[in-house]
């Protein structure tokens, strides 16, 4: 047992910090720290290419396809530093979800065609898994892809397809064998500009659309866009999720939230002193700081494959429950720190371009937008209740 960061890792952290200092601009940092959903798309694409020049764009990919070869710890350090420094959060769908799947299961042609634009950030991806009425129940998937010569004809409807409205490509779960109830599901790559695709934004509780409905109406997709053999999507999906066992903890965002809360509380006042010195506020803040720090250790344990008293398959669910609970509490505390200022609506565009004044300081825009959006984090990616079902089953065989 060795619970310390190695000197090498600490040196790596310094290297990352120096790189971030050199490459980020205050405008980009402001927009990142504003925490709106979705974040600024141009910033993300720009930062994707900046990182790619350094060779740091794709820590999730194998080294031979442009990955960094970092240890999980080092990758964690990198992501934390990026977040806290205000680097744009790169889109996950390509770099962290489908990229690794293509490297593992894709054809050589697919790797050549899709990986370079993922590394450079010039092609962004949508993830088309959920369908209306299906909830968390994949077995009831209804979209179909029927082989017709060298094309699949795809029909169906997807929902909660994050950022589909401005993605070049999508990876979709479809039923290639309509006779089987549980099998016959495949993963297929679809050009989002294909005829027959309609994308409708879903306005969210915070007033902005960050997720979409996707209607697929006789969309023609080349046969070679299928990933692996037909009917093997289950295996690919499992692989995809296993790569992201710790991301649902949202630990980097949590540290960013704490930074933001402290920044606000140093400026706002209560009973004639800075809010951060108010005993009640400090108590709430400290409690959350401690829980975030403990969650970080939970993440480290998973990253390092620590021995566990409970089946490790339960740990992603454990992290998600705590992570989303903390998101609710952190974003609530941030709005509480603002007082009635929290009530002003800043849409995404307004937040990026807000007029800053003494009445409306730069730390106001985005806080409530983020709090409202984060009500979704205990729902998406398998709701809190589903996670509890999973834990009971895996950890206690109940």
């Amino acid at each position: 047992m060795d619970l310390q960061l190695s000197p090498d890792d600490l040196a790596f952290r310094d290297e990352v910090r120096a790189f971030l200092r050199e490459n980020l601009t205050p405008e980009v940092v402001y927009r990142s720290h504003t925490e709106v959903h979705p974040p600024n798309e141009e910033d993300r694409r720009w930062w994707n290419s900046v990182l790619n020049r350094k060779g740091w764009a794709a820590p999730s990919l194998p080294v031979e396809y442009g990955g960094t070869g970092w240890s999980p710890i080092r990758r964690g350090i990198f992501e934390r530093e990026c977040r806290l420094a205000g680097a744009p959060e790169l889109r996950w769908q390509g770099l962290r979800l489908i990229g690794p799947v293509i490297c593992e299961f894709g054809s050589e042609d697919q790797k050549k065609r899709y990986i370079p634009p993922i590394l450079e950030g010039t092609e962004q991806w949508a993830q088309g898994f959920s369908e209306p009425g299906a909830g968390s129940d994949l077995a009831s998937l209804k979209s179909t892809a029927i082989l017709d010569g060298d094309k699949y004809i795809v029909n169906g409807q997807k929902i909660w397809t994050t950022e589909a409205g401005y993605s070049e490509l999508g990876f979709f779960l479809v039923r290639t064998d309509t006779t089987s109830k549980h099998g016959g599901i495949s993963m297929i790559i679809i050009d989002m500009s294909s005829p027959g695709i309609t994308v409708r934004p879903i306005e969210m509780i915070n007033g902005d659309p960050s997720t979409f409905e996707v209607f697929l109406d006789n969309v023609e997709v080349p046969r070679e866009n299928l990933i692996g053999e037909p009917g093997t999507a289950w295996q690919q999906t499992k692989f995809l999720l296993a790569n992201e066992r710790t991301s649902s903890a949202d630990i980097d965002k949590a540290y960013g939230d704490l930074r933001r809360i402290r920044a606000i509380a140093r400026r706002e006042h209560k009973n004639g002193r800075p809010l951060i010195e108010d005993p009640g506020f400090r108590q709430r803040l400290t409690q959350l700081e401690l829980e975030v720090e403990a969650l970080e250790w939970s993440v480290l344990r998973v990253l390092c494959n620590a021995p566990s008293h409970h089946p490790s398959a339960a740990s992603a669910s454990v992290l998600k429950i705590k992570g989303s609970d903390l998101q609710h509490k952190l974003t609530k505390l941030a709005t509480d720190a603002l007082g009635p200022r929290a009530l002003r609506l800043y849409t995404r565009e307004q937040a990026f371009n807000a007029q800053i004044s003494a009445l409306w300081p730069g730390y106001v825009p985005g806080v409530t937008h983020d709090m409202l959006y984060m009500r979704a984090c205990s729902i998406y990616g398998g709701s809190r209740e589903i996670q509890k079902n999973i834990i009971a089953k895996i950890a206690f065989a109940m």
């Binding site: 609530k332 009530l343 002003r344 409202l372």
Partner: protein, 380 residues
């Protein structure tokens, strides 16, 4: 002690419930939110026609002289329908400030409040203030021959861009406290910058630049202004609280219906024990909020300032806390649809957040309560 509604109260509640059911669908509310006012002038006229704006006003101003309890019964029903018109701000908070004033100008405006012609709102919060209850007030009132000039900037003035009049707090050099002034919104020297709030209503920053008002504009002298304002805020806190309780009841109904309709893994969601238990917890919290509301209603007119303050602040804190749990879990139980703009439960949540952040949040009010010693039982 009697909790039963009188016939008059029942009629009031039924009338409001019918109105909400028939006219306050989410689509029309979204339309109102997109309008310049952030609320519906059509609803507003209806409120006036029904006498709702006149409910607690004095008879001399065409009012019905009904009680805070009556108003809370009305607003609870309106809260179920997410009604967002400036009923409480104008016809309760400011009307109370006007009624309590001896000023002639005040009486005239009260009559206009009753008909809905006047929309009066409180311009009190300034930069950095977190609660109307302890705003220090930096705006200045200077005496001139025939009246006053007012200067300063007010922020988070609810319905500020649609208001016809403001009740403005401002401080005369040398006075200990601040006075409260009635000012027409179109007076020279007033500049308003409106913006939307998260619940679809609108507020404004209001800049007062040497705004001249007559001597009669002074509604309350510094010696009494803070006390009268507290009493007006108390009424607002309680009545808005009733609206939140209505919101909570609506969310219980929406959510239990949703759970019965939707299926997962081939069974209605309502058959899952964990979700049943959540609904039960939501009811327990809703009942707590309602009880806190009654506690505040029982104390609202008490001569015992400590008791009143404690009950009002206690209700504010508990209703906001319970509301946050109940409506937050209402969203959760709806799943994805719960976090969309197209569905009512998210709007209830935003209305709750507005309540939470107005007048001081739960931390503020718990602390305020804590400064008042609880009544100690006598030892034998």
């Amino acid at each position: 002690m009697d909790f039963a509604l009188t016939d008059e109260q029942k009629m009031l509640a039924d009338g409001a419930a019918r109105y909400v059911r028939e006219r306050c669908d989410l689509e029309s509310r979204r339309k109102a939110a997109a309008s310049e006012d952030g609320f519906s002038r059509r609803h507003w006229r209806h409120f006036a026609d029904q006498g709702w704006l006149a409910l607690t006003l004095p008879e001399a101003a065409g009012g019905l002289e009904m009680t805070v309890e009556d108003m809370s019964i009305l607003v609870e029903e309106l809260g179920r329908g997410l009604v967002c018109e400036p009923l409480v701000d104008s016809a309760v908070t400011c009307a109370h400030l006007l009624s309590a004033s001896g000023s002639e100008a005040a009486r005239a405006i009260l009559a206009d409040i009753a008909t809905g012609e006047a929309i009066v709102t409180l311009a009190h919060l300034e930069e950095g203030d977190h609660s109307e209850y302890d705003a220090p007030v930096a705006s200045r009132a200077e005496r001139i021959d025939d009246g006053w000039t007012l200067s300063g900037t007010k922020t988070c003035v609810f319905y500020g861009a649609s208001a016809t009049h403001f009740v403005v707090s401002a401080r005369n050099n040398g006075d200990d406290g601040y006075g409260l002034f009635l000012v027409a919104a179109d007076a020279d020297g007033i500049r308003r910058e409106g913006y939307s709030l998260i619940d679809g209503t609108r507020a404004a920053d209001v800049h007062f630049d040497n705004v001249r008002v007559p001597a009669s504009a002074l509604l309350h002298e510094p010696a009494t202004a803070a006390t009268v304002l507290e009493s007006a805020l108390d009424r607002a806190v309680v009545i808005f609280g009733a609206g939140v309780v209505g919101s909570m009841e609506a969310v219980l109904e929406l959510t239990s219906e949703y759970l019965k309709t939707r299926e997962q893994y081939g069974k209605p969601l309502a058959s899952f024990q964990a979700l049943k238990h959540r609904m039960s917890e939501m009811l327990v919290e809703t009942e707590q909020a309602r009880s806190a509301l009654y506690s505040a209603l029982a104390a609202i007119d008490s001569d015992d300032g400590q008791r009143r303050r404690r009950a009002i602040s206690g209700a504010k804190a508990l209703i906001a806390q319970s509301g946050h749990f109940v409506i937050g879990e209402g969203i959760q139980l709806h799943g994805g649809i719960g976090v969309t703009e197209e569905y009512a439960v998210g709007h209830h949540f935003k209305a709750l957040i507005v309540y939470d952040k107005r007048f001081g949040d739960s931390d503020f009010h718990i602390e305020r309560c804590g400064q008042i010693p609880a009544e100690e039982p006598q030892a034998p």
